[in-house]
């Protein structure tokens, strides 16, 4: 609670800068609602990425993902969150100038010529959690954490990117959509169709990414939404009323095959390189009941 009145604003927003300040050098990707270019900030020679959002493209005006991305990145300035350098407009287009991040965790995981040391995994995990913590303390859920959205800067910093699915944790009675997060990283409460959830869903995703960093293959690769439930609980045990009170009242909790929870020995075998402490952390982050997940 702040006691002092607002101070006069000194800082002026650096928005609406014309395109001349940036160069668009190379097209590197095309998504559903945007084209991404690599370029430079002319004055500083800094490498940047420009996400060009076609505003005239959608019949309902500005796309929801674009709105979310702008909304949340404007608020979240942190070393472990991708920096929104600038926003400017060209005719009919909205341009997000983002910091240039040439690599992501998925690329590293797939490149088997790179050996991960436990210190690498530790520091990536720590940086991810710092970024997630910053989102959560601002009451923002990311809702799409996966290796592909964890980008790596040339200096090794890891940054959370793609806030197209993010949302504010608003009022306690608000309904949230359970159809969020890329399938393999989706927490059990989402698989069960829960309309009320918390930052625990992001922590689950981080836990699954942690497992993937150790295994170098996706930990819970469900083929479809039904299979995801099976794959998830085969690995981590089916939640019951004993370990997760009221779980059976969630919309999609039915006709489940009951798998026993994995023993520590089984987990040790699956994650053969993990230390006991790494296993503790993994177990903590993949608790089935969202209330018992660490934060």
């Amino acid at each position: 609670m702040s006691v002092a009145g607002p101070q006069p604003t000194v800082q002026l927003p650096s928005v609406s800068t014309p395109l001349q300040n940036y160069s668009k050098d190379k097209k590197v990707g095309e998504g559903t609602y945007a084209v991404v270019y690599l370029g430079k900030q002319i004055t500083t020679k800094r490498n940047i990425a420009i996400k060009e959002i076609k505003t005239g493209l959608f019949k309902d005006g500005l796309d929801m993902s674009a709105i979310r991305e702008v909304k949340y990145l404007q608020e979240l300035k942190h070393p472990n969150v991708i920096e929104l350098v600038d926003v400017f407009s060209t005719t009919n287009n909205l341009n997000l100038v983002l910091e240039f991040l040439p690599c992501d965790l998925e690329m590293l995981i797939k490149d088997k010529s790179i050996v991960f040391k436990s210190s690498d995994i530790k520091s990536w995990l720590l940086m991810t959690l710092r970024g997630v913590h910053h989102c959560h303390r601002n009451f923002i859920l990311h809702r799409d954490l996966k290796p592909n959205n964890l980008l790596i800067a040339p200096d090794g910093h890891l940054k959370l990117a793609d806030f197209g699915l993010a949302r504010s944790l608003g009022n306690p009675n608000e309904n949230l959509s359970s159809n969020v997060v890329t399938r393999w990283y989706r927490a059990p409460e989402l698989l069960f169709g829960s309309r009320h959830y918390t930052g625990a869903i992001d922590i689950w995703s981080v836990g699954i990414i942690f497992a993937e960093l150790m295994l170098r293959i996706p930990y819970l690769p469900g083929k479809d939404d039904v299979d995801q439930i099976d794959v998830t609980f085969r690995a981590l045990g089916t939640p019951t009323e004993q370990i997760w009170p009221n779980v059976s009242s969630l919309p999609m909790y039915n006709a489940l095959h009951v798998y026993p929870p994995p023993s520590r020995q089984e987990l040790r075998q699956r994650f053969s390189a993990a230390t006991e402490k790494a296993l503790d952390l993994l177990i903590l982050m993949t608790q089935l009941d969202p209330k018992s997940k660490t934060n």
Partner: protein, 356 residues
């Protein structure tokens, strides 16, 4: 704050805890949209002048054109068709009255679409912010208002398709909204996050139960009383928060506390004393000369002063005058469409001539 350090992962040891106040100070609401009263007045005056200039330039262009195409009429009615006798621009005070009148339509429209409170409050915040930097002599408030509602609905996760949105609205096409959406976003400096006092009010309501509901503290206070206070405070916010300028001048928790304080000063003060002077009775041994209770007392005094100021600003908001607004609306139309003004006057003059 970690946000400014991009070089190294900072050492975590002995780092100062980041408070919610620190986080708020990094919000766009604090950095771009918080002002002092003088700043707010100056900004609006500047914007009004800008609007007048734009309307005047537009007028002069049409005036020159019209003069060229009707030289004999302008010759004949030199006095009546003098620039200064035609031009009638909207003053700073009129612009305020007009906007106060318009903002009330947000409630009506949002209720019609059964939109949640959050959308209504965000839409009015967008609308107010838009007219800090743009004048009604540049953009008529009617279409801007609907655009703000449409954008606020998306920003607050209450998506409505453009067809269903414009269908019940008269004289508004999808293009009107979609063309303006981008201009509104730009005027908002691409910042969409709005922190309202609703959530802090709920938080304080919960916290006040923990603080005050002990029989040994105060036997007069019970859960029903706190519930009533909460409900009345929400009504207070409905009445004063959206219309007034408090969101530009105070933080959301300050506004939330102001609503409670104005409803029930005794309970609110009681609660604040518990929060700020908690250690007063417990600290018997004084270790430091500047004890925590002195700090608490100063903070409490400052806070109560701020709350009182907030209440008075909230209640300053002028009553929207329908009749005056109608007249301003006419002026606004001609400021935006000077050709109509000149043509109408010419028509009137030439008709009079024919009849005489």
């Amino acid at each position: 704050m970690a946000g400014t350090n991009n070089d190294k992962i900072e050492p975590t040891l002995k780092k100062k805890m980041i408070s919610n106040d620190d986080l708020y100070r990094h919000s766009s609401q604090y950095n771009f949209w918080s002002f002092t009263e003088e700043q707010l007045v100056n900004l609006r005056k500047q914007t009004n002048l800008k609007g007048q200039k734009i309307a005047k330039d537009k007028f002069q262009q049409e005036y020159t054109n019209s003069k060229l195409s009707n030289p004999e009429i302008f010759d004949k009615f030199q006095q009546e068709l003098k620039e200064e006798n035609l031009l009638n621009l909207i003053s700073y005070e009129e612009e305020l009255t007009f906007l106060d009148f318009y903002i009330q339509n947000i409630t009506t429209s949002c209720n019609f679409f059964k939109m949640p409170t959050q959308v209504r409050l965000t839409a009015s915040s967008f609308f107010k912010k838009f007219y800090l930097n743009n004048s009604v002599m540049e953009y008529h408030p009617k279409n801007i208002l609907y655009t703000c509602i449409f954008l606020a609905a998306k920003s607050e996760n209450y998506f409505i398709s453009i067809e269903s949105f414009v269908k019940p609205l008269s004289k508004i096409d999808s293009e009107h909204i979609l063309d303006l959406e981008y201009i509104v976003l730009q005027s908002l400096k691409f910042t969409l996050m709005v922190h309202h006092p609703i959530r802090p009010l709920y938080g304080i309501f919960l916290d006040s139960q923990a603080e005050l509901l002990h029989p040994q503290i105060n036997q007069d206070i019970n859960i029903d009383k706190l519930g009533d206070l909460y409900n009345h405070a929400r009504e207070w916010l409905n009445k004063y928060y959206m219309i007034s300028d408090v969101a530009f001048l105070f933080t959301p928790p300050q506004i939330a506390l102001a609503s409670m304080y104005d409803i029930d000063q005794k309970i609110t003060e009681n609660y604040l004393k518990r929060k700020f002077l908690k250690n007063e009775k417990l600290t018997t041994i004084k270790e430091e000369p500047e004890s925590t209770e002195d700090v608490g007392r100063t903070q409490l005094t400052t806070l109560i002063e701020t709350i009182q100021k907030c209440i008075s600003v909230a209640k300053q908001s002028h009553v929207a005058d329908r009749e005056a607004s109608k007249e301003i609306d006419r002026k606004c139309f001609y400021a935006l469409n000077p050709k109509n003004l000149i043509d109408k006057r010419i028509k009137k003059l030439t008709n009079n001539k024919e009849s005489t």
